[in-house]
């Protein structure tokens, strides 16, 4: 096995997680937990693929995916921001809604055959760097490169710009922001929309670049849930989110690839001969997500790892304190 090849594919696979994680990060930084990432990703993957089949233009596919997923996210926004309902319940139902819609509209898409995909290319000069060049800058999809840009841009936006300052205030202490004339409701709608669009982009990245095609709910295979876990792991920081997303992308590839060869490092490959070991490996990312979510749901721990203080709480104007 050539590990640089696995890592190269891992980066591509991690880009899916990256978009979804950064999107959820924006939403949570504004104080809205959206557990519907998986559903929005399915919407994105399905609409990107079917638009591309219909029009032959994958760029249009990406655009439609982002808009459609963003639109779906606004259902959640309306329920939790305007109607002030429980964010967990609404987010879960968004997952089911997204999955349902994409399965119905995606009926028959799996037999549609091949479509025009987004371009892959290498970056001149950078590709010459030993190992790094091969892993990060050789024959990657254009979306992977976009991911590299998104991380520092997101960090800069959140930490060094005026709208970023307002975003953080809205997630930490909405009444303080409101008292100074910031429209908390509008901001929260907007960032839930951003989260939806990036989840849609994550879906499009799967169906148009990383593993092209539509395989109903297996297309995303629970990556939306991993993204939610990664936001906690990342402690709401884009750079840490990138580290987590790429590490998990690489792990996913490794788990797939390690089960292939008959001989591993000179021994009979146990993962090939014992399928249960393979199942165990495949379970690991989800197990990790469960552990992170359990840790992240503890009130004391959330304060310690720096969760946005108002995360999960609806903002009601005129209530004292938070």
């Amino acid at each position: 096995m050539d590990f640089t090849v696995i890592l190269q594919a891992g980066i591509a696979s991690g880009t899916v997680l990256l978009f979804a994680t950064i999107g959820e990060l924006f939403s949570e930084r504004a104080g809205v937990l959206n557990l519907g990432v998986e559903g929005m990703m399915l919407i994105g993957a399905m609409s990107a693929f079917s638009t591309t089949i219909a029009t032959g233009n994958p760029w249009l596919g990406v655009l439609v995916a982002m808009l459609f997923a963003g639109l779906i996210s606004q259902i959640h926004a309306f329920i939790v921001i305007t109607l002030q309902a429980d964010q967990v319940v609404s987010g879960l139902s968004l997952t089911f809604l997204g999955a349902g819609i994409s399965l119905v509209l995606g009926e028959g898409l799996s037999k549609a055959g091949t479509v025009a995909l987004l371009p892959d290319f290498s970056i001149p000069l950078l590709t010459l760097i030993p190992i790094i060049g091969k892993i990060f800058f050789t024959n990657q999809s254009i979306l992977v490169y976009f991911g590299y840009l998104l991380v520092p841009l997101s960090w800069y936006y959140i930490n060094r710009t005026r709208p970023g300052l307002h975003l953080r205030a809205v997630g930490e202490y909405p009444s303080a922001a409101d008292a100074l004339g910031i429209n908390v409701f509008r901001m929260r709608y907007f960032y839930v929309f951003v989260g939806g669009m990036l989840a849609g982009l994550a879906g499009a990245t799967i169906s148009l670049a990383v593993s092209p095609g539509w395989f109903s709910e297996l297309t995303t295979g629970g990556q939306g849930w991993i993204a939610i876990g990664l936001v906690i792991f990342a402690q709401w920081d884009p750079f840490r989110a990138a580290v987590g997303a790429y590490a998990f992308g690489a792990l996913r590839r490794l788990i797939l690839d390690i089960q292939g060869p008959l001989v591993l490092l000179g021994f009979a490959n146990p993962f090939y001969y014992n399928p249960y070991l393979g199942f165990f490996l495949q379970m690991l990312p989800y197990l990790f997500t469960v552990v992170v979510l359990v840790i992240g749901s503890r009130e004391a721990m959330r304060k310690r790892i720096g969760a946005p203080a108002a995360l999960g709480n609806p903002y009601v104007r005129g209530e004292r304190g938070k």
Binding site: R160, T161, R162, P163, L165, H166, R168, A169, E172, Y173, S175, A176, A177, A179, L180, G181, I182, E299, A300, K303, R304, G306, A309, R320, G321
Partner: protein, 528 residues
Amino acid sequence: MTEQTSSTEQKLIIEMRGIVKRFPGVLANDHVDFKLLHGEIHGLLGENGAGKSTLMNVLAGLYRQEAGTILVNGEPKIFSSPRDAIKSGIGMVHQHFMLVPSQTVTENVLLGLDEPRFIMRLPDYDSNIAELGEQFGLKVDPRAKVWQLSVGEQQRVEILKMLYRGVDVLIMDEPTAVLAPQEIEGLFDTLRAMIAQGKSVIFISHKLQEVSAIADRVSVLRKGVATASGVASKGVSRQELARLMVGRDIIFALDKKPCQPGEIVLDVRDIYAENDKGLPALRGLSLNVRAGEIVGVAGVAGNGQSELSQVISGMRQCKKGQVLLGGDTVSNHSTLFGIQHGMAYVPEDRNHVGSAPNLSITDNIIMKKYRKSPILKNGLLDMKAATKLANELKQAYDIIVPNVSTPVRLLSGGNLQRVILAREISGLPSFMVAVQPTRGLDVGAIEGVHRLLLTQREAGAAVLLVSEELEELLSLCDRVYVIYEGKIMGEIMIKGEGHDEGLVDTIGQMMTGTPLDQIQKEGVVANG
């Protein structure tokens, strides 16, 4: 200052005419008139619930009045948000600070402004804000995160926020409630610096001596009605102001019998504990309380008082050390264990920790008694006995409600506190810890709570009173410990009536981190 108070020479900057503001069931402001002169500090006095904050929230654009007009420099204005009020030069510093804890001072000041447009070069603004602070004697590091700041520093950030927005009129809502005596002096200096630079200040307070000390003129509200409007503070006595506030003469001294301390009941030995964020809150704290005495814990809010009371009551684990109640270790046990050993607890948050808001008075009363007869009968609750008990306590503790099935969330602060005290005291505790038991209560209710605490002391119980009101501690307690950053700075005996300025000054120094032995050493050096 006395020359300034002659109103004929000074320009009227704000005039509020016939302001009416209603809340469900309450007429908070009943045709109130209020006038602010340019360059004055105007004290706004009143009991809690008299409507002073409401009136000022109307002026600051947070509430909209139902009737009445606001004139700024003679022009009528309608404020639909605090932003409008700030544009007209009126800013308010609220009692509960509106600061984002995870952001820096500069970020908090810039929050909500149109400048900078997009990219923030924070270092540039840091120096602007430091300069502005210098100008008004508001020392605070612009790069510090708000959660790292003391409450006094946070208040300075709030003031800076308003000054940066260029307000001419600053409304301060109970600004001294959270400050140590030295910090209060600093605040007063800042307010005077603002006046000297042509600004005006409205100072809301229920503390008479402060208003007399700082204000040029005073207005008094009682039950939503202005009982005095713009009288010169020099020409009116404290007694007179008190009568205007309360509507009757209040007795400033409590009837307190000499202390007869008995055995040590509560013994806190060298405890260490963390706060919710996992940071050290208590670091090697020791204290004790004897039977028949009230012992106070003084300190500026957030120095470990909450954690201390939680460790004692069993609601928080301690890392090291132990709490002994009547010789038995109660720390790191359940709260039930403490209750069975005679512990009573009057928590800081009476709405959520002290009571279950949606349950009735009866349910709240029996919360510590349902395990035993007469409430427990054949393994079931005897609701008849419970109602009977609740009615008895309602009588005995003067809880004013139509009936005991009323959910406690509908009670006023004073009534709710009486329900909690009734529950705790009727269990005949050997020890009681009370945290801020009078916060937010009106003068009458405060008197009632004080009397109940003194009755406990006379009945031979040990009482630990945690409070941020120095006055309260000095008038009730036999001894006072001063807490600073989770450590005891020293212990002071309170001897009967009348406390001297030196004592307040010493406690003030301890509240800001100077241990008592150091103060005494320096005192000896200075005297010798």
